[in-house]
Symmetry: C2
Subunit: 172 residues, 2 copies
């Protein structure tokens, strides 16, 4: 019962991408720098998100990642499943049938233990499905005195880019 570190990085990255202006993209290097993580590793998970149709990619210089759909349409469950894989955490190996005398004519009835574990996992996923990236942004803004938003804005002003469009005044 352990989630990889990539999940946290992915959620933070999506949250950041949700805040940039329409049509803008952010490179993986910029996201990694902002979060203080390894670029190459973050790239792996961004690719997973891209493969899950959560992010869109823009190759080439001035390229980067952007959201593939509205922040209100992206749930935490989508991200977790994209990064960790869709298979459930509990895997029933039917060990009740693996003994020396495995109930000969008995057809495969659902294992009660498996059912209970899956029920719990459904509750877990349902809770994650209830939370969208837009909800997260709202919550953060609610408890923010402005400094968090300011930091994000400053960062995006520096690194956000719009492919196929001349950058206005980018110092670096």
């Amino acid at each position: 019962m352990k989630l990889g570190e990539g999940v946290e990085q992915a959620i933070h990255s999506v949250t950041m991408l949700a805040q940039l202006s329409d049509g803008g993209v952010l490179s993986a290097a910029a996201l990694a720098e902002f979060h203080g993580v390894k670029t190459s590793y973050l790239l792996k998970h961004l690719q997973a998100l891209s493969g899950a149709a959560i992010l869109e990619t823009q190759p080439g210089p001035k390229g980067g990642y952007r959201l593939a759909r509205r922040a209100g349409e992206i749930t935490l469950l989508d991200i977790v499943l994209a990064v960790e894989g869709p298979e459930p955490a509990f895997r029933c190996l039917e060990i009740r049938q693996r003994g020396p005398n495995p109930l000969p004519g008995k057809p495969t009835r659902p294992c009660e233990i498996n059912a209970a574990m899956l029920r719990a996992e459904r509750a877990y996923r349902a809770e994650l499905k209830r939370v969208t990236i837009a909800d997260l942004l709202t919550e953060v803004a609610r408890g923010d005195d402005g400094s968090i938003a300011a930091r994000g804005c400053a960062f995006r002003a520096l690194h956000e880019r719009r492919p196929g469009q001349q950058a206005s005044t980018q110092g670096e």
Copy 2:
């Protein structure tokens, strides 16, 4: 997001132990044989359950494991936590503060992402906490035509032992 195989083995073992008569014990070797798993590996998890005060051990010949409390007082959550460890699946590394400009004077406000993930995990654990071993036995009995119970009874008649008491008629 993956649980080890030991969880399933542990739950099945506890379920079996819950069905033996008062004062009786079952050896790890017997449990492993019944479930068709490696004894040495099962031992590790039985030890974890013992350390969590879910099982009691009886050393020596005719020794084995027994429940430390009533089956109705043992939840699936107890077993999962004992085997997998109590730490939550999602670990917030506070990467939002690890960037190059980490909000200087900002005190540690709870991360919204972390809060959402933990909320989901609480739902998961709450669902597991609702199910006791006694509930599982009831459910299994409800959908059983008698063959499952018969198999378990036959096995226990062969392998169940009572320390400090002469075995009545044990063929082997």
